[in-house]
Each structure stands twice: as structure tokens, then as C-alpha cells.
């Protein structure tokens, strides 16, 4: 089985889905001849041409609107937002139109919006943000954040085949970090199912995106200290695999929720609330959150390091929680 990076995996999924289905097309800024800012769409323009790999001017509002209209006409647009931070310039077509249309008058809006997401690359306040909570708060949108090359391919294929609008955030910190075996054939990883990345019995670390890697590293560190951590990778926030979260917490009685996004109103609050509401009886400690602080994402290395959770910080917080 070939080893692929996260980015190569995304690229392969796009190639294969475009070959499979004539209705799938890509649009966004610099996605065509240039192959995208991160080269996620490399080689597609050469293979499928400008009709199916559409370079747009800088106009997220209009090209996401276009994608909505095209989707309702039976096409399958895969929009690339150059950096997830820029998604706010195309907010209305996503949260007002795409999210509500099926509920309002029954038309399906099957589009995928892919966006390189998150920090860890010293890219500053406007190339590092994690805005998944904005979209999780809009009924009608699915929100997917894969953490491995294998899931990136399988979940992107599922997203493209899904009849609903899917926001697909790709932790760019992982783009070239680790390679893993990824089957050459197409496969779909179901949207809405969490994965247990490591089994454990003392506490559950519930996370997603680039923090999965950090959580697993923290769990390895803690295992030496005889603290057994289970790591739950949510993979999709909407629909949420509540059962996986609650099953794990019922097993460990302690929950540490970790995300790269800022704390207030973050998705971790939702997880903590669910655990408090539905598994209060088994808890040995209050659900804990380890997140970025409530600030914009700073640029300078020492500041970003202080801002972003990592394996060391996760291990430290987990130790406290285990001792509670």
C-alpha cells in the first residue's frame, strides 16, 4: 500500500472522485493552473480542464453562491477556500443559503467547502484560525475535520457523495507532517463516526484535528506514569458521534476536551455540556477544557507556542485531572 501525506491523500481523493463522477467540479482561487496555494489541486487542471477546475477571482461570496446554484442544478461543487480564515468573506451563502435551503423548501445543496485550517505554522492572525464553531452552530451544515491521511481521503470522498453542504476543514499543520498507508482504491469513511485512537481507562481525551496527534503523544507520555488515557478523535463535529464520547466517559469517568480553537463558545463547551447533562452520574471530576485562550492567533513563535495546546500542555492538564 502506498504511503501518502495528508495533502497527497486529499489530492488523490479529488482525482478519483472527478474521474468517477462527471458532475464533480472544483472552484476557488488559484486552484487551476497554479494547483492551489498548498497544491491540493495539483494536476487536476491538466487532467480535467478549466471547466471542471475553475479559477475564480477573489470573490468568496459570489463563487460560493455560484456553487450553491450549481449544486441545486445537480452538479457537485468542491469549493476550495484558500485559508479557512477567509471563509468569513463568503459567510452568507454558506450559513444563510446552503444551510437552510433543504429545510426551507426541500432543495438539496450538495456542496463541499474545503479549507486549510488551524495554526502551528507561524502564519499569523489571518492564516491560522479555527472557526468550526461558527458552522456547527448552523443547522443544516455538516462539519468534518479529519486528522489522518487515511481519514482525509475517506471522509473527503464521503463529503463529495453526501447530499448536504459539508464544511471540510483540513488541519494544514498535518499536510506534510506524517505519511501513512492509504489504499489506492476509493473508499468512504462515514461522516458522523468518531474513532478511538488509543484505548485507556483513567481518562478520556476528546479532541479533533491536529490536536489528535498531540493527544496521542501526551497519552504515550502519561502511560509511562501509569495514567491510562483514551483518545477520542471526533472526526466530525456535525453530526456528532455522541455515543462514542459518552461510552468513553462512562468507561473512564474523566474527560479532558482539547481543541485548537479559542475557548469561549468553542465546540469543547458543547462536548462538556453533553457530558455534564448525560453522564454526570459517572463523573469523578468536572469535565475539563484545554483550548487556545480567547485572543486572536499571534504570529511570533513564542507567542504562538503559548497560544496553542500541545502534547506537553495536554499531559500536564491530564495529570491534574487524573489526580482530582
Amino acid at each position: 500500500m502506498p504511503e501518502l501525506s495528508y495533502l497527497e491523500s486529499i489530492n488523490q481523493a479529488l482525482h478519483q472522485e472527478m474521474e468517477r463522477d462527471e458532475n464533480v467540479f472544483i472552484l476557488g482561487e488559484d486552484v487551476g493552473e497554479f494547483g492551489g496555494a498548498f497544491k491540493a489541486t495539483a494536476g487536476l487542471y491538466e487532467k480535467f480542464g478549466s471547466r471542471r477546475v475553475l479559477d475564480t477571482p477573489m470573490c468568496e461570496w459570489a463563487f460560493i453562491g455560484l456553487a450553491n446554484g450549481a449544486a441545486m442544478m445537480g452538479l457537485k461543487p468542491v469549493v476550495e477556500i484558500q485559508f479557512a480564515d477567509f471563509i468569513s468573506t463568503g459567510f452568507d451563502p454558506i450559513v444563510q443559503y446552503a444551510a437552510t435551503t433543504h429545510y426551507r423548501w426541500g432543495a438539496k445543496v450538495p456542496l463541499v467547502i474545503r479549507a486549510p485550517w488551524g495554526g502551528g505554522a507561524c502564519a499569523g492572525p489571518f492564516h491560522s484560525q479555527c472557526k468550526e464553531a461558527w458552522f456547527a452552530h448552523c443547522p443544516g451544515l455538516k462539519v468534518v475535520i479529519p486528522s489522518t491521511p487515511h481519514d482525509a481521503k475517506g471522509l473527503l470522498i464521503s463529503a463529495i457523495r453526501d447530499p448536504n453542504p459539508v464544511i471540510f476543514f483540513e488541519p494544514k499543520y498535518l499536510y506534510r507532517r506524517e505519511k501513512m498507508e492509504v489504499p489506492l482504491e476509493t473508499y468512504s469513511t462515514p461522516i458522523g463516526e468518531a474513532a478511538v485512537r488509543r484505548e485507556g481507562s483513567d481518562l478520556s481525551i476528546i479532541t479533533y484535528g491536529a490536536m489528535v496527534l498531540e493527544a496521542v503523544e501526551a497519552a504515550e507520555t502519561l502511560s509511562v506514569e501509569n495514567i491510562s488515557c483514551e483518545v477520542i478523535d471526533l472526526r466530525t463535529l456535525v453530526p456528532l458521534d455522541k455515543k462514542a464520547v459518552l461510552d468513553s466517559v462512562r468507561k473512564t469517568s474523566r474527560a479532558l476536551i482539547v481543541h485548537e480553537a479559542v475557548k469561549t463558545g468553542g465546540f469543547g463547551a458543547e462536548i462538556a455540556a453533553i457530558i455534564s447533562e448525560e453522564a454526570f452520574d459517572v463523573l469523578d471530576a468536572p469535565p475539563a477544557r484545554l483550548t487556545a485562550p480567547d485572543t486572536p492567533v499571534p504570529y511570533s513563535p513564542p507567542l504562538e507556542k503559548a497560544f496553542r495546546p500541545d502534547a506537553g500542555k495536554i499531559a500536564a492538564r491530564a495529570r491534574q485531572l487524573a489526580a482530582y
Binding site: 467540479f25 477571482p57 461570496w61 463563487f63 446554484g69 443559503y97 429545510y103 426551507r104 450538495p110 455538516k142
Partner: protein, 328 residues
């Protein structure tokens, strides 16, 4: 208005235009009356003064063409096949409406089988939607066109600029109709822009733009016909600015006392339906009998529509959480 331009159009077609405009007006009146009687909540956006624009443009679409109307385009919905009963049911929040009671008045009044896209309040969102339909026609090499509408108010939104520019760059087969009724809710046009004609903005996108009299249904038809021809020929989008005045308030609750009485009086003399009716009478196409026949037919359709809507059941509260997502 010269009598010449209507001589080229068959009398039957002209009467059809009048029928749709009168039907639009009567549904509008009836909705307002029902709303004021407390027969449904929500609100009603008056169509008065806009009938020539929506009817004169939508009448030119063919089967398979797409339309993304807004809240002053009731005529376009009707022309494209939305029945009065479904329109009343939507206002009343009934199950038989296109939104099944989930969206209000003309919002979300969509039906893909008719290629009518329901709109959201965030105008001019429909410009992007129509552009997407137009792109699907290019994509599949179909000889089709998309038509969409926005107001002078929405012309100040950034998305309007983005959509016009993107449509121009893609040479998309889409026609943009700007209904300049001189008011964005209470804000008069002179507080919205400094140009006399908003259509001159088309030049900035490298596409044709034209300003016409939005009270003249034939002028709307002619300009739209030319724009559709251009779109079908592969020459890209056109911006058509139709000037009129919104003859009532923004919605039924709004007395619109901010509109100077003199201005309103002047434009009331240019009521698009009265103007067209007179023109047909002067040309001998319409007489008292034909008019009575039209009115009778319209009243019967409206009665039937209201009855149908009121007989449509209320949506069940148990369905509240259904259909947020599509299963297949």
C-alpha cells in the same frame, strides 16, 4: 409609449401579459386584506408598481430555464408556474405550500421542478444562485438562461459587485434585473448612490447595461429579450435597470409616509397595469367585455386559491426537526 412597439406582438400575447399583471396585483391585494384581517401572521411585501418588471421579463423564459426571483417578483413566480393556491398557502404557513410552513410569504417559495429558486432575505444572494444555474448550463453545454432580480437597496451590497464581475468573467448566460424602485425600505435612492442610472456600473464589469422604464411591460420585454438573446449566443450577462416606484410601503405594516406625496402622486399616474390597459384599449386589443372576462377569470382563480390554501392542513409540530439534512 408609442402604439408601434405593441403592434409587433400578437394580441393574444398582450392579453396574456395583462392577465399575469392583473393576477399579480389581485393576489397582492388579497394577501394584504387577509393579513390585515389577521388570517395569517408574517407579513406581505407589496408588488404594486413592480408587476411590469416581473411579468415582462419572466414571460420570455422557456422550459428548462432557471429563475431566482426576490420579494417583489410575485408575477415571475406565477408566470413560471407557481399556483395562486401554493402562494396563499405559503403566506398562511400551511403544509401545502412549497416550504410546508417553514418559510414566510415569498421567501423560500422555491420549486426545483419549475426551476424556481427560493430566496433568502440576504439580498442579493440570488445573484450568486442564478450565476450557479447559468454555470451549470455552460458546464453541460445546454442552451439555457438564468434570470435573477435584485433591488436598488441590494445594489449597494458587496455581493452584487462580486456576482456581476464573476458572471462577466465567466461569460455566464444570466440576466440581472435591477428593480430600482427608489427606496431601500425607507432610504431614498439619493442616499444610496450618486449616479443617475445604476446600469452604468455594467461598464465597470465589461458587460452591457441598460436603463429602462420599469412601468412599461413592453420595454421590459424588449430589453429582456435582447439580453436573453445575448446570453444564449454565448455573449454573457446583461444588467437591466428597471426604474419604477414602490407604490406602497416596504411591507404591509409600513405606511411609507417617508415617500413625498408629490412623488407618489406622479408615479401613481404611471401605474404599470393602468398604463398597459389603456394602451391595449387604445389599440383596440382590449374592450370592456374582454376586460370583464379577464377579471372574472382572475377572481375565480383567487377564490379557488384561497380555498385551496385554507383547506391545506397546518404543518404538524412533530415534523419540526425533520429535513434539516437530506438523507439521500
Amino acid at each position: 409609449m408609442s402604439a408601434d412597439s405593441i403592434n409587433k406582438i400578437p394580441g393574444k400575447k398582450l392579453l396574456e401579459l395583462l392577465y399575469w399583471m392583473m393576477l399579480t396585483r389581485r393576489i397582492d391585494d388579497r394577501c394584504e386584506a387577509l393579513f390585515k384581517q389577521g388570517r395569517f401572521p408574517g407579513g406581505i411585501f407589496s408588488q404594486e408598481g413592480h408587476e411590469a418588471i416581473s411579468v415582462g421579463s419572466a414571460i420570455l423564459l422557456e422550459e428548462g430555464d432557471a429563475i431566482a426571483p426576490m420579494h417583489r417578483d410575485l408575477g415571475a413566480y406565477l408566470v413560471r408556474g407557481m399556483s395562486p393556491g401554493r402562494i396563499f398557502a405559503q403566506a398562511m404557513g400551511r403544509q401545502g405550500s412549497p416550504s410546508g410552513g417553514r418559510d414566510v410569504n415569498t421567501h423560500g417559495l422555491g420549486d426545483l421542478s419549475l426551476r424556481i429558486f427560493g430566496y433568502v432575505s440576504h439580498l442579493p444572494q440570488s445573484m450568486g444562485i442564478a450565476l450557479g444555474a447559468a454555470y451549470s448550463f455552460l458546464y453541460r453545454k445546454e442552451d439555457r438562461v438564468a434570470l435573477t432580480y435584485f433591488g436598488d437597496g441590494a445594489s449597494s451590497e458587496g455581493g452584487c459587485h462580486e456576482a456581476l464581475n464573476l458572471a462577466a468573467v465567466l461569460k455566464a448566460p444570466v440576466v440581472f434585473i435591477l428593480e430600482n424602485n427608489q427606496y431601500a425600505y425607507s432610504t431614498p435612492i439619493e442616499k444610496q448612490c450618486l449616479v443617475e442610472n445604476l446600469s452604468i456600473r455594467a461598464e465597470g464589469y465589461g458587460i452591457p447595461g441598460v436603463t429602462i422604464d420599469g412601468t412599461d411591460v413592453i420595454a421590459v420585454m424588449e430589453a429582456t429579450r435582447e439580453a436573453i438573446g445575448r446570453a444564449r449566443a454565448g455573449d454573457g450577462p446583461t444588467l437591466i435597470e428597471c426604474k419604477n416606484l414602490r407604490l406602497k410601503g416596504h411591507a404591509a405594516h409600513d405606511p411609507a409616509d417617508y415617500i413625498p406625496p408629490g412623488l407618489l402622486k406622479r408615479w401613481k399616474k404611471r401605474d404599470p397595469i393602468s398604463l398597459f390597459r389603456e394602451r391595449l384599449e387604445n389599440s383596440g386589443i382590449l374592450d370592456g367585455n374582454k376586460l370583464a372576462e379577464l377579471q372574472g377569470r382572475i377572481e375565480a382563480e383567487i377564490e379557488e386559491g384561497v380555498e385551496w390554501a385554507e383547506a391545506s392542513p397546518w404543518p404538524e409540530a412533530a415534523t419540526l426537526e425533520k429535513d434539516v439534512f437530506s438523507d439521500a
